[in-house]
Homo-oligomer: 298 residues x 2
């Protein structure tokens, strides 16, 4: 990586946004309100962390970013769908996300549910589109689709959301909060890294490094998120804070306190960095990303 | 087909249910409530029309049903997810489906939304599973995934649901009601036929026959559904009837009257049968299915 991390992230955000713009029907396509709602949430200023992790792991294995952008865009579609549905009144009932009204506040519940549905479906449309599949062996593409479907499904992301809600107001232990964040956040972050590496043709040993890195990074990212809910600046975060406490959410900071949560983040990030040592200098982007995750304020 | 259509459908329903049972985690897998909710709706006694259409088209092209069952199961997952979400309070707000409480009435809204999410995701997990993909050229599998994603997405099934809701209480013309049912129902029924044919290696000319057949059959199926809402027996249907009128839904029977709607069904089914003439006797199963659709009372 010849650039600084902020430059690298900004450049790739640009590539990802261009790709999303190409794959998501415009507001001039019927049904207009639905496509407008999909774009509203997709282009609400997300960090594009999952796409960037997929691009980075792909580059580490293949030495270039040629052809990876549709995968990056698909991962952002999955992430955005999960945010829209998690914010619904029947779930976390949030009004603000990234400084803007949540989808159901802006478009009503029906359109929000359908915009989420359309985005998870679009992810698989992108991953099976000729623009993507023509550049890779099709067995690799199928392995990538499977990776993302498993991470997003009833034993991944959705399981995490079920447990996150179930433990509201209930007593959770360390095993329980680990299980929540490992699924709610860790699964898709890990799949971002492994799918990028798989697409580039990583062998099983390399995949294992990316998998452990992703799991640890994902957990650290979520604990940092929960800490920011406790201590962060709502202006800067663009969402309401101190929600977890009010709602009795089971989080690491609520269970162990902020100092202990900070230690846990540091330990997870150090485990993450350790996992990719065998990848050598090529993996420097991921090392810089671990530092960024530990320090992020938004 | 050496059997009668009822035998053929019963046998294949058995194969599809076995396949679903294998792919859907049991209620003994965590999160139990989520998997229970997925199974509750999947095994609520559906006709398995979409799976059976995929199996039939696959058999017509390939001469056997070897390997097609995961595709059939995936189509039923997509269909069931769409029913769960369509029944939600924010959408059609239905309490009964197939003689049982709808998912959100039984499990609450949050679990119903997530069970639907998990089922659409599971469809793509099944379609990318080695059990399915090992039996076919991977380019065909990717074409099948694309077919289903497009039919289910924001310019297919989801568009249909958006328009269906939008036209409630509004004046619709024939073009509008055609567009609603073509997307809401026709798109996935057409994709059931084309994906089965694609998987079996159909050429472009054959695909065109299946595509037209599926579109016409799907539209006829939905108009018959709307007629049954107007005239059917709620006991036998297992759901509340006369809902469309109360809610001011734009349907063919409400716009043109029952007699004219019956004519439209007959014309569509005759167009459907015409479209598959070039396939000859091999397509007799589909001919019997058009008769069944015209007469069905549930």
């Amino acid at each position: 990586m010849a650039q600084s991390l902020p430059e690298y992230m900004a450049d790739n955000r640009g590539f990802v946004d261009e790709t999303l713009d190409r794959f998501v029907p415009g507001a001039d396509h019927e049904p207009r309100l639905l496509h407008e709602a999909m774009r509203y949430s997709l282009f609400a200023g997300g960090k594009r962390l999952r796409p960037i992790l997929a691009i980075a792991s792909f580059e580490i294995v293949s030495g270039s970013n040629y052809g990876v952008m549709p995968l990056a865009a698909a991962l952002e579609c999955v992430h955005t769908y999960s945010l829209i549905h998690d914010d619904l009144p029947a779930m976390d009932d949030d009004d603000l996300r990234r400084g803007k009204l949540t989808s159901h506040k802006k478009y009503g519940e029906a359109v929000a549910i359908l915009a989420g549905d359309a985005l998870i479906t679009l992810a698989f449309e992108i991953l099976s589109s000729p623009e993507f599949t023509r550049n890779f062996p099709h067995s690799r593409v199928l392995a990538v689709i499977r990776d993302i479907a498993l991470a997003s499904g009833s034993r991944g992301l959705i399981a995490g959301q079920v447990w996150d809600m179930w433990f509201e107001g209930r007593v959770a232990d360390e095993e329980a909060v680990n299980r929540i964040i490992l699924n709610k956040t860790g699964a898709l972050i890990r799949a971002s890294l492994t799918s990028g590496a798989r697409l580039a043709g990583a062998d099983l040993a390399q995949l294992k490094f990316f998998s452990i890195f992703g799991e640890k990074l994902g957990m650290a990212f979520q604990i940092r998120d929960d800490l920011l809910d406790l201590e962060g600046d709502p202006e800067r975060l663009g969402k309401n804070v101190r929600k977890d406490g009010k709602r009795g959410k089971a989080t690491h900071p609520s269970l162990f306190g902020a100092d202990q949560a900070r230690n846990m983040i540091n330990n997870l990030l150090s485990d993450a960095a350790h996992a990719i040592e065998p990848l050598g200098e090529r993996a420097d982007t991921l090392r810089l990303i671990t530092e960024y995750i530990g320090q992020r304020m938004t």
